[in-house]
């Protein structure tokens, strides 16, 4: 069985490390210390830990004010609340003056399955992409979450880290020291027939999809796009040129999401046939997380099928 790890634990561990390395790092939350597993930060650095209660607008505004004084606040709440309840503070108080605030969004996508639509976030990529000065990280697994936290701490400017809550398959090996650079996509598997461009939790599924396709003689490239903004245009263009077909995979609404971001590059730079795997513009109801993924088409099988359909339609078009 594939190895899984808890993304939240990985996040918290990295934050506490970063907090130990840099005294400018503050930790703020809106009554979600326990779900974020950041109790240790509160214990170790109580003078840099602030819980503001369930008041996300205030949470973000306070972070902005702190950042003007040279602090590096990491703010913690669930992604739907961060990107919607405190959206204007994020946009106007943090991003407009380009303040050095880090936003940790947990429960991105439909990860908090039983929470239902109120606690799902299928809109955040669309919202965050549209805000100037924002950097949006979407790490593939727990190993990469740790790297993203350290990269965010060192990066100057508003940075959002999008991640889930439930244990998820590892893409990277523990202790892996591969280079993580904001804005630089990572090719995990070479391939020549189709490129599977995935972000966040869908990266591990894209790898499984590539294995499924390999059994049928289809050579699929898998690219981990851990930075959705700024997106690695060069890697996308290269994939389009070298494989001629693109499938994107995201745990988000396919409207204005990650697939849309890739499509913008493809359409402008090197149009090739494309399919987007993601949530088809619907609220997803509630249920156990994995069952919701199955229901709404976010599995490796869905990615593989999208690739098959794409290649089939391409060859039909070529014959016509």
């Amino acid at each position: 069985m594939e190895k899984t790890a808890n993304p939240v634990q990985a996040y918290a561990k990295a934050l506490i490390e970063a907090g130990g390395q840099d005294e400018r790092i503050f930790c703020l939350t809106a009554d979600l210390m326990h779900p974020f597993m950041i109790e240790e930060f509160a214990l170790k650095y109580p003078d840099r830990f602030f819980n503001v209660g369930v008041a996300e607008q205030n949470l973000m505004g306070i972070a902005a004010g702190m950042a003007t004084c040279g602090k590096i606040p990491f703010v913690h709440t669930y992604t739907p609340f961060m990107t919607m309840r405190s959206c204007e503070q994020m946009r106007t108080d943090v991003c407009y003056p380009c303040l050095n605030v880090k936003m940790a969004g947990m429960c991105s996508g439909i990860n908090m399955g039983v929470g239902g639509a109120t606690h799902h976030s299928i809109e955040d990529i669309a919202i965050l992409r549209a805000i100037p000065n924002m950097t949006l990280l979407s790490p593939a697994d727990s190993i990469e979450i740790g790297k993203a936290v350290h990269a965010a701490a060192q990066h100057v400017g508003p940075t959002f880290i999008r991640f889930g809550r439930v244990p998820a398959p590892l893409v990277y090996e523990e202790g892996s020291d591969y280079p993580f650079e904001i804005g630089k996509a990572i090719t995990l598997k070479e391939g020549k027939d189709v490129s599977l461009l995935a972000t966040g939790l869908m990266v591990s599924r894209a790898l499984v999809a590539a294995d499924l396709l390999a059994k049928e003689g289809i050579s699929a490239r898998v690219i981990n796009i851990h930075t959705i903004k700024p997106i690695d245009r060069a890697a996308i263009i290269r994939a389009a040129k070298e494989t001629g077909a693109i499938v994107t995979a995201e745990e988000h609404n396919i409207m204005a999401g990650f697939g849309g971001a890739v499509a913008e590059v493809i359409v402008e730079e090197y149009p090739v046939p494309m399919r987007r795997v993601g949530i088809a513009d619907t609220f997803c109801g509630l249920g156990p997380t994995e069952e919701l993924y199955q229901k709404w088409g976010l599995t490796a099988a869905n990615i593989a099928q999208a690739a098959r359909d794409l290649l089939k339609s391409r060859s039909t078009a070529a014959k016509a």
């Binding site: 503001v52 209660g53 306070i62 004010g65 702190m66 106007t92 108080d93």
Partner: protein, 279 residues
Amino acid sequence: METLSKEKISFLKGKAKTIRKNVVEILSQSSGGHFGGALSAADLLAALYFEIMKIDPKNPCWPDRDRFILSKGHISVAKCSALADAGYFPYEELLAQYNKLGSPYGMHEDMTKIKGCDMTAGSLGHGLSAGVGMAIAGKHDKKDYRVFVMIGDADLQEGSTWEAIMAAAHFKLDNLVCIVDRNQIGVDGFTEELMGLEPLSQKFRDFRWQVKEIDGHSIEEVVATMEAVPFAQGSPSAIIANTIKGKGVSFMENNHHWHFGVTTKEQAETALAELEKGI
């Protein structure tokens, strides 16, 4: 508490008059603007910039300076007039560039463009939270700077302001001062008819603030009250300054139509003349 000298009172009244005249001059040469709230806040701004705040216009980013956040960012014109008069940038530059393409100065304010501006503002209900963040940072760094946040009536209609009010008391931020420019008028009319705020002092007290209610046009009272902060150790201070929207221009006073307005040439001349001699 020291009594202000006559010279000092006269000096500060002169500064407030300059702010008001500059507001009228700038906005009448531009495409109009927020006359009412700018004129109501002028005495408060004069006291802050020319008597109360520890600032250095030659060193706008001085880490130990007192901070000022104008949550009612739409009266940036009044604050920029004070900044110019204090020496952050030339008044001529402000007058010539206000609302022009690419200008640092305009209807709302951008902290990355305006020297001496500590926080971007424009959308209401944001300033006090940022002030809480600055006050926490100041306490953490063991600095003795104060954070002054000016809010308007409408800021108090935004729920987010009350989140910040709650937090400021919870975190015992006695280095935070909230000044309410209580002119009682919004875009559409009187606040008490639109969405009542009273009893406002009591609300702040119930949220565990120390509160003083003053005449926001009495320089003596404004300065004495601002000098007295914090009103109590361990508590944030609120100054509810009762003001008159459009103060100093007869046809603008207490008239919600001058929340935002465009003056005719004659109106601008009348306004400047009234401000010069007093009404």
